[in-house]
């Protein structure tokens, strides 16, 4: 059966997405671990299909300042990948990378901002790479684009992009455990519905 929106996915299909996400996330963690030269463990990701307000509540609060990196997917899968840094994860990364912590994203200088954009990009790319190998599709990725903005505002971007098709977002949430600290990441993988159908078809579940 062809899906019309994300929430049409049945338990089996969601399980498959979870499995793919688990592999994708572990690739991303490996890449991050190499870069930071630090052991990083991850928890098994949850895949949630959420409405806008649920997604905001799950990640943080609506006016919370976050740094987000966005990459567009094209070719055999079209859609968006969005990685959201909350301050604790950003600081853990920046401390290791440039030796500084920040009290707020408002203080972020050019160097820290570029570092976060690059990390976001690496996480997204390694995630997508794992995904392409597993599913057997070709995906081209755009140059990353980042913003420091209110969480609620950031999440309206995918909402508006797919607003004519669905009111839901697919949120993949894993915890990175770095030096005993549990850090929550926020990765949103948003293939368009046609692509999601072809992914599930390729994996033989739909």
């Amino acid at each position: 059966m062809k899906l019309k929106t994300y929430e049409d996915m049945n338990l089996l299909e969601l399980d498959v997405m979870k499995e793919i996400s688990s592999i994708g996330t572990s690739h991303a963690a490996t890449a991050l671990s190499k870069l930071l030269q630090k052991e990083i463990r991850i928890t098994i990701p949850e895949v949630n299909i959420l409405g806008y307000e649920e997604a905001v509540d799950k990640i943080g609060y609506i006016e919370e300042l976050v740094t987000a990196t966005l990459v567009r997917m094209s070719n055999e899968v079209n859609g968006l990948m969005l990685f959201i840094f909350k301050l604790d994860l950003a600081n853990a990364v920046l401390e290791k990378l440039i030796g500084r912590r920040y009290d707020s994203f408002e203080e972020l200088d050019e160097l820290a901002y570029s570092a976060l954009e690059e990390i976001g990009n690496i996480i997204i790319c390694s995630y997508v790479n794992a995904f392409t190998q597993l599913v057997g599709v070709e995906i081209d990725l755009s140059v990353p684009s980042s913003t420091v903005n209110m969480l609620g505002g950031v999440l309206t971007v995918p909402m508006a992009e797919y607003g004519y098709v669905t009111d839901k977002l697919m949120y993949i949430n894993a915890e990175f455990i770095m030096g005993g600290e549990k850090l929550s990441d926020g990765l949103l993988m948003l293939p368009d519905i046609e692509s999601l159908n072809s992914i599930l078809e390729k994996l033989g579940v739909s």
Binding site: Y52, R72, V143, S145, N149, G153, V154, T156, E161
Partner: protein, 163 residues
């Protein structure tokens, strides 16, 4: 009426009379539109996400600029609003991500398209926009105090702005 704060979600509209405040958080590419009739202290706040309703059977009228504005005017008019007295202010329509590279020029312009549609529909309705804070690359929280029609815009790292 008691002093209270109403929250407007994405693609929704709320209105009130008297001592109330209506707020919508973190408008990104979305647009917040306040309607205020000072003679009867009636105020509404609409939060639209997309320019036009394509499917006429889509029940989410407030999600789109065209159907949202028309429905808001219809509702508020039923409560005594007169278009000629009403003060309209808009905020939002930001471009949250600047996409580089070819083939992405259209992406991220939804804020601009939303703003253009809001202005077009309001003009067709013969309602003048008395103040606006649109564009840019940052999210805005918009609040209207229905007791006096004051509209406040909150953004990160900047002082509050009264429209």
């Amino acid at each position: 009426m008691t002093d209270k704060e109403l929250k407007v979600g994405i693609g929704d509209m709320k209105f009130a009379r008297g001592d109330s405040r209506i707020i919508t958080y973190a408008l990104g590419s979305c647009i917040g539109i306040t309607f205020y009739d000072p003679a009867i202290k009636l105020g509404g706040l609409l939060h639209i996400m997309l320019p036009n309703r394509v499917d006429p059977n889509d029940p989410k009228v407030f999600k789109y600029a065209d159907s949202g504005i028309k429905e808001t005017i219809r509702k508020l008019s039923a409560f005594g609003m007169l278009k000629s007295r009403t003060i309209v202010k808009i905020a939002g329509g930001a471009k949250m991500f600047e996409m580089k590279g070819s083939g992405s020029s259209d992406f991220g312009n939804i804020g601009q398209r939303n703003a253009a549609m809001v202005k077009k529909v309001l003009m067709e309705e013969r309602m003048r926009i008395s103040a606006e804070d649109t564009g840019g690359a940052y999210a805005r929280t918009m609040l209207i105090n229905v007791a006096n029609g004051d509209v406040v815009i909150r953004t990160v790292g900047k002082p509050e702005k009264h429209l």
